[in-house]
């Protein structure tokens, strides 16, 4: 019969067990050390994972936003798509570079973490800039649609008035001025709003003169006032120019921020 001799490891194990049985405080120390080792390892793994993913997540978020922007033109309802995209960009990037408080202190102590956080913030800013420019456009369009509805309804009212009813025309234009002044517009539409008020005020003044000339039966004054009313209408064209100019600036900004992605 052959008797198996114990290996070096088995000998060591038996000695530790025997020692622990003799000295219980040693047993606790060993268990504690093992646990600490496991926890430390887990923390290191979590830290590396967090800082590593922070940049790659930001990069992939940029790519996703870029791809969505490129697909906007193929959407059936571009305005709704831009609105949704602007909102999602805002929500998705708000906490893009936030990390757990367990590891956030690393950025003040470890250079690698500091670089990673800085890079993430750079990505976040670029994405946020796109979101803000899209938001500016959607806000502007919302305001413009309200302005447009106001103008259209006014046109409809004017079309129903007899051309010879100068007083009613004047009254309707005065109401247009009052309502336009109350209209809330964004800064890109402010110049167009001012032009609308200016030209319609000119129209109201001209109608005043037309009414006076008609009453006094003065032909020369009547012709001059009629020409002024027509001039006032041509001044309304300024609204178009200023509206297009203001909007073009927003579009340029959106395009620049999108190109920077």
């Amino acid at each position: 019969m052959i008797k198996r001799t114990a290996t070096g490891g088995e000998v060591m194990y038996r000695r530790v067990i025997t020692s622990c049985k003799r000295h219980p405080w040693r047993a606790l120390s060993v268990i504690g050390a093992v646990l600490l080792l496991i926890l430390g390892g887990a923390y290191v793994w979590y830290s590396i994972n967090t800082w590593g993913n922070l940049v790659s997540d930001a990069q992939s978020e940029r790519k996703i936003i870029k791809s969505k922007l490129m697909n906007i033109h193929s959407q059936d309802q571009p305005f709704e798509s831009i609105k949704t995209l602007a909102e999602s960009v805002h929500t998705d990037t708000k906490h893009l570079c936030d990390v757990s408080p367990l590891v956030s202190w690393h950025q003040h102590s470890f250079n690698a973490a500091k670089v990673a956080h800085k890079e993430c913030v750079t990505h976040q800013r670029k994405i946020s800039a796109v979101g803000e420019s899209l938001h500016d456009i959607t806000y502007r369009i919302d305001r413009e649609l309200a302005f447009d509805a106001h103008v259209a309804s006014h046109q409809g009212r004017l079309n129903k008035i007899e051309a010879s009813d100068y007083a009613l025309h004047k009254k309707t234009w005065q109401e247009f001025i009052d309502q336009t002044q109350k209209l809330k517009v964004d800064s890109s539409l402010e110049a167009a709003k001012k032009a609308a008020i200016l030209s319609s005020t000119f129209i109201v003044t001209s109608y005043d003169q037309l009414i006076a000339a008609d009453k006094a039966e003065k032909r020369a004054e009547f012709d001059a006032a009629a020409a002024d009313v027509q001039k006032g209408f041509s001044m309304l064209g300024e609204i178009q120019n200023l509206s297009v100019e203001g909007y073009a600036k927003l579009v340029d900004t959106a395009q620049n921020t999108a190109s920077a992605l």
Partner: protein, 259 residues
């Protein structure tokens, strides 16, 4: 050796083509190239969101119907102007003496529109550049009149007098004969000088009526000068520039006693 080099080049090209196919054929490659070719955000779609410019363009500039008082004032003014002009005409006519009357007729088979002939002749005779400058008026009457204006077929013109030819217009006594061929086509000399048909018609009427008024033929007074209306401009301008209207110096009439 040269064959080996060609084979070598060919292989390099094939390998390059394959690499390009693999690299650019991937989705990443396609995206990379698409990004370079097209902007991330297409502005046409964004610009289409604007509605206000189109709505503003729909404002229609009002056209003002003139009020009744306005129309009345205009009508009254027009009446007053017409009355003033009529008075002025009457005053001028009474100052110089008379209205010359004439009748229209045709000879032979004419091709021209007679109503157009009548209208254009009357316009010419009463034109402020013509004989009317002597303060006379011309009025067409149904028959008789001071003279008879005849639109004649070319072949019929010599029947009025042996002095008349098939080529030209003519005047014989109270008959002022306009050659239909000249009325419709002017003359070679006139056309060569660049004169219009309407001006030729002015000229031929003024010229032939001028004979009735008492004028004979005149010659060109010098190269580049304006031709007198009584010059035979249909035949030769003689270096003068064509002119359908009587010169200031031609404004007299022995027939009417106007000096």
């Amino acid at each position: 050796m040269a064959g080996y080099n060609k084979l070598n080049d060919c292989c390099i090209l094939i390998v390059c083509a394959w690499v390009c196919q693999v690299v650019y054929g991937t989705t990443a490659g396609a995206t990379l190239f698409a990004t370079a070719a097209t902007p991330v955000l297409q502005t046409s779609q964004l610009n289409s969101l604007q509605k206000l410019p189109d709505t503003v363009a729909e404002f229609t500039v009002p056209t003002f119907e003139r009020p009744a008082w306005y129309k009345k004032q205009v009508a009254d003014e027009k009446k007053a102007q017409e009355a003033a002009q009529s008075n002025a005409r009457k005053a001028t006519q009474s100052a110089t003496g008379r209205i010359v009357t004439y009748s229209l007729s045709t000879a032979g088979a004419t091709s021209s529109d007679l109503s157009e002939f009548s209208s254009q002749v009357n316009q010419t005779l009463n034109d402020s550049r013509g004989w009317a400058r002597m303060g006379i008026g011309f009025q067409e009457v149904a028959s008789g009149g001071d003279f008879n204006l005849v639109l004649s077929e070319a072949s019929q013109v010599p029947t009025f007098s042996s002095a008349c030819s098939v080529e030209w217009s003519c005047r014989v006594g109270v008959s002022v004969i306009i050659n239909d061929a000249r009325w419709t086509g002017a003359s070679a000399a006139w056309n060569a000088s660049g004169g219009s048909l309407r001006d030729y018609r002015h000229m031929v009427v003024n010229h032939e009526v001028g004979h009735w008024l008492g004028h004979g033929h005149l010659n060109c007074t010098g190269v580049g000068q304006v031709a007198p209306v009584m010059q035979q401009q249909s035949i030769d301008l003689q270096g003068c520039t064509f002119n359908p209207w009587p010169l200031e110096s031609e404004l007299w009439s022995s027939q009417l006693g106007i000096q």
